[in-house]
């Protein structure tokens, strides 16, 4: 693929001995893009003059598929968007449907959801930060914290049976209660995390090479970031303290005490530091949730939406009827439209759902934070070195699945 304006520029300046112009394809598959997207760069020596991003390589038409599926079969689509923090996507979608239906979720289920979402946030941030190390030449930290992700995935497995694409939770609550084994595993992993992240930060935070590679690289002002629709850690690194968990608390986030770390210059190092600080806040939220975990049910009393226990399905006729109706996708979702957003790993993850009372959504639109802020990448790397573009991309944490939906 070629970009016309690049070719014209090269043609115009081809006899200029001061320039060494060429077009460089960064991607579609490049080890440091962590996904499939292409950037066509106009290079002068090692400086990027202009760039043209191409997206859509793994577009899977989730919005179209969602219009043809019953409500409880859409959750698996959502965890294939941001696959680094699938539970946040799942639970965000489920909360959207619950908001439309008007279900009250018991406190215990909300707390379990908070624990799962914060674990997901930690895994999302640890991948981004450790991979920033890899892309700037330090593999050690990555291998060191990656074992934590495996342990968190073991917890997912304990809770929902899956590791990467979790399909966690059901409309009305969680599919099963937090077992004593799972609680023990979470405490264990938190203990590991404190030790490992402490050591990781000793290795990375004041590391001269990392600081040289990231400070004043890929910066963006707060004003441009807002205009570009940045949200989440990338916006907070630019100095805007917008966090959906705090501004529009959902799933009982108002019960927890946590700080919203902000940066100032919006460069790669600030984004690194904000994510790192958020990991500690997430650990603290999980501890508070486990400490104050309320007793009660792990799902709402909503027989129209929530599958009855197997005991009832096999022995009671009503149970069998409800089971059959729900499995066949006959959920009495009212007519209406709803927008609900959660704080995803990368920012405000929104779901805009229109229901016409049918068995599938009339329209389901996902606000994918990656898709919206990745547009700024071309502006952020303009005039910088090629190696800075790599660091910028990895600190933005662009997830191809979320970008392309």
């Amino acid at each position: 693929m070629s970009v016309k304006r690049f070719e014209e520029y090269i043609k115009k300046h081809s006899n200029d001995p001061e320039h060494e112009l060429q077009v460089l394809n960064l991607g579609p598959t490049h080890p440091s893009t962590h996904g499939i997207f292409q950037n066509i760069l106009l290079m002068d020596g090692e400086t990027i003059l202009d760039s043209e991003p191409t997206v859509g390589y793994i577009h899977r038409a989730f919005e179209k598929i969602a219009e043809h599926r019953p409500y409880n079969q859409i959750t698996p689509l959502t965890d294939r968007m941001n696959y680094c923090s699938a539970p946040i996507n799942n639970i965000g979608y489920l909360m959207t449907v619950e908001k439309l239906v008007g279900l009250d979720i018991p406190k215990r289920a909300q707390y379990i959801r908070v624990i799962m979402m914060e674990l997901a946030r930690i895994t999302d941030h640890l991948i981004c930060n450790s991979v920033l190390g890899v892309d700037t030449g330090a593999l050690t930290g990555f291998l060191y914290v990656f074992q934590l992700r495996e342990k968190v995935y073991d917890i997912y497995e304990q809770i929902c049976g899956a590791r990467l694409t979790t399909n966690m939770g059901r409309i009305g609550g969680m599919e099963r209660d937090l077992s004593p084994k799972a609680i023990e595993m979470i405490y264990d992993v938190l203990k590991d995390m404190k030790k490992t992240f402490g050591e990781f930060e000793t290795l990375m935070n004041r590391n001269r090479i990392l600081m040289d590679r990231t400070i004043n690289v890929g910066g963006i002002s707060a004003e441009r970031a807002l205009s570009y629709g940045f949200s989440g850690p990338n916006l907070r690194a630019a100095g805007v303290d917008y966090d959906v968990r705090l501004m529009n608390p959902y799933s009982s986030y108002e019960d927890f005490d946590f700080k919203v770390p902000v940066g100032s210059s919006g460069d790669c190092y600030d984004r690194y530091c904000v994510r790192q600080a958020e990991i500690w806040e997430s650990i603290s939220i999980i501890e508070q949730a486990l400490k104050n975990l309320p007793d009660g049910d792990f799902h709402a009393d909503a027989p129209d939406f929530y599958l009855p226990p197997k005991q009832e399905v096999y022995n009671v006729m009503e149970g069998l009827i409800y089971h059959f109706k729900i499995v066949m996708g006959e959920l009495p979702v009212p007519v209406g439209e709803v927008y609900h957003s959660v704080e995803g790993g990368n920012g405000e993850l929104g779901f805009y759902l229109i229901s016409d009372g049918g068995r599938s959504p009339f329209r389901l639109h996902f606000r994918r934070p990656c898709f919206i802020y990745y547009q700024a990448f071309a502006e952020m790397i303009k005039g910088s070195m090629l190696s800075d573009a790599i660091a910028t991309m990895s600190s933005l944490n662009v997830i191809a699945g979320e970008l392309d939906a």
């Binding site: 997206v55 859509g56 577009h59 038409a61 919005e63 179209k64 598929i65 219009e67 043809h68 599926r69 019953p70 908001k99 439309l100 441009r224 807002l226 205009s227 570009y228 629709g229 805007v240 917008y242 501004m247 529009n248 066949m328 996708g329 209406g336 439209e337 709803v338 927008y339 609900h340 957003s341 405000e348 929104g350 805009y352 229109i354 049918g358 068995r359 599938s360 009339f362 329209r363 639109h365 606000r367 898709f371 919206i372 802020y373 990745y374 547009q375 700024a376 392309d404 939906a405």
Partner: protein
């Protein structure tokens, strides 16, 4: 400033061009006439500090009247006061054009390209209105309701038995 104040100021300034307020699931929807959507959003951004365009997307209503067959939906957020607002503009199928929001919000650029790609809505004043997810050679707009999800000629699978039709036909 609260929600009522915003609505009052809007209805004062754009009398007759906005209307049909609905409140669903905690979010107010304002219907705006197509010719005024840019002015309304500009007013919201510059005078009422709605500085964050959360989301924009299109919706296809094939059963509506011709004048209202498509809708553009904007979610806009005032981060200072934490106010959210939804704006809806209906578009006729024969003339699917609307002003681009790119002069106000840089984030509108790709979102409008995506909307064009899937619904065929033309945004006046957009700097680079080409397809973004699908290939450039594509001639259809796949998120329109009449576009089938799977090959219509397929005979090996009867959708009725898999719970995949929309209305249980």
């Amino acid at each position: 400033m609260d929600k009522q104040e915003v609505i009052d100021q809007l209805s004062q300034r754009f009398e007759g061009h906005i209307g049909n307020l609905e409140e669903t699931c905690g979010l107010t929807t304002i219907q705006v006439r197509r010719a005024y959507i840019f002015e309304v959003i500009k007013f919201l951004k510059e005078d009422l500090s709605f500085n964050f365009l959360t989301d924009l997307c299109a919706v296809h209503f094939p059963d509506n009247d011709e004048e209202m067959r498509f809708a553009m939906v904007y979610h806009i957020h005032n981060l200072f006061e934490n106010l959210r607002l939804r704006l809806r503009v209906f578009l006729p199928e024969s003339d699917l054009t609307i002003d681009s929001m790119t002069p106000l919000f840089a984030s509108a650029n790709w979102q409008e390209r995506e909307t064009y790609d899937f619904f065929g809505v033309i945004f006046n004043g957009h700097p680079n209105l080409v397809r973004i997810m699908n290939m450039d050679e594509m001639e259809v707009f796949p998120m329109r309701k009449e576009f089938p999800m799977e090959d219509a000629g397929r005979v090996d699978k009867d959708d009725r038995f898999f719970g995949r039709t929309i209305h249980n036909e």
